[in-house]
Symmetry: C2
Subunit: 280 residues, 2 copies
């Protein structure tokens, strides 16, 4: 039995040539629906094992319909085995509803990745985690799996109105102490509340249509430093961009998603509880 809940809940097994099986736990639900980054983490495990590469360099998910907790099957397709990088795709299906998501990725070995480094962007300027304020676990299951800390006073960012910046900066780590790795980045990259909630509050939720995570380095143990931002909401479509650094200050991932801005009369995913109150 794996020591950490992430490893237990993303375990997959090969059941036939190109066919994998796993189990979607409700522990990573946003409302009643398993989180999209959680599906991506499971798909990434099936794909890395299939192409015999240790790391995803990028993963792209297309979310066809909501998943549900329970058994999931992955049908893997090898697209190309290369010397440097390989490509593969997997379709996740569930009995009774068919295909729920398609993931396509680029795979390699981040430990062997060499070449020039040059950075124009910088991490967000947040006080160290110990000087930040914990964000209390909330009713959303996936939120309980993480410790999240924001700058003092930022906890009240929800629904500030039109003048707010649709941005959220936070420290994030697994609540049970599991270290981040290339596989958990895909999940962690989708673990913060949508930055648009800073403006609209709980009246808006943002179901993901497409999510791509670039994984640039295996993260050092400890906290992830995250910045997520939405610049362009256009007639109900938006991007959610994320940048992720490890505790050593190394950029470890970039994420971007295309999402719909839905304004239900009542937030359907328990998002009335997100983002959470800040405990002193």
């Amino acid at each position: 039995m794996d020591a950490f809940v992430f490893d237990r809940d993303t375990a997959v097994r090969r059941v036939a040539n190109g066919v994998w099986a796993g189990e979607l736990s409700s522990r990573w639900n946003a409302g009643t629906v398993p989180n999209g980054g959680y599906l991506m983490a499971i798909a990434g495990r099936m794909l890395c094992a299939s192409v015999a590469c240790p790391d995803p360099l990028s993963l792209t998910g297309h979310y066809l319909q909501p998943a549900q907790p329970g058994p999931v099957t992955g049908q893997v397709e090898l697209l190309r085995r290369g010397r440097r990088v390989s490509f593969a795709a997997v379709t996740l299906s569930q009995r009774g509803r068919g295909a729920i998501a398609r993931f396509t990725g680029v795979f390699g070995d981040l430990a062997q990745q060499t070449g020039e480094t040059r950075l124009e962007g910088v991490p967000p300027r947040l006080p160290p985690p110990v000087a930040c304020e914990p964000v209390e676990p909330v009713a959303i299951e996936v939120a309980k799996r993480f410790e999240r800390r924001v700058a003092p006073g930022v906890g009240a960012w929800l629904g500030q109105g039109a003048d707010a910046r649709a941005e959220l900066c936070a420290w994030v780590r697994f609540a049970d102490g599991r270290a981040q790795d290339a596989h958990s980045l895909a999940l962690s990259a989708d673990a913060l509340p949508p930055p648009l909630l800073a403006v609209y509050g709980a009246r808006g939720w943002t179901p993901t249509l497409e999510l791509t995570v670039q994984i640039r380095a295996r993260p050092a143990p400890g906290w992830l430093l995250c910045r997520t931002r939405t610049r362009y909401l256009t007639r109900g479509l938006l991007e959610n961009d994320g940048e992720f650094w490890d505790e050593q200050g190394e950029l470890v991932a970039l994420a971007r998603q295309l999402a719909r801005f839905a304004e239900p009369e009542r937030p359907p995913l328990g998002l009335g509880d997100v983002p959470p109150s800040v405990s002193g």
Copy 2:
């Protein structure tokens, strides 16, 4: 016969259930290899026709190996037909080399797209096209298909060294006067030189591993205003982010790619000719 070269060179025909055929013209080559955005435009046509949606909302390309001018076959897979959006994928193959690229997309009708609009980003501040400097057509075929204009003095941006910002802002339109639409955006989004050339000059080229273009609106006729930027080059991996506005100032597309930074002894794609000299 279509009046414009883009339409001629992206024409596709259905040859069997789920099977499409096209012809890769050398007119959109970067060096000896058809441009990745050109492949995406062809794939987008096959996919939109297959799902019976007028517009791609996003297209993601995974570039498995270099293509070559000549016949190309597309095998289309419908992933989900939805009321609001549909999903589909296509694998492009060429005789003798097998699969060259996989495209996966989200499709809908941009004319029916309604919802909130809220912008935090702004277009680059460039003088109007008439006050900008034309960038001369260069030895690269795909560059000859576009008129590109940059701010006065910016033409000398190539290889400015470590202090330069890896960014390029430009006006772009088809050289033969074809208006932009949702289909041509995918190609135009990949038609500018890599912004990293501002720093490294022609010693670096950046083959694309994965490219995603979000299409937010059908562009108005006229020029596209573009900003492309690379913030994070990490051990030879980089993103190239693009933002695209139409002449009315509407955001029409976002693009991001994951690319490799290759430093060959001699640029293999004729990139010694890019970016071009500026004519007075």
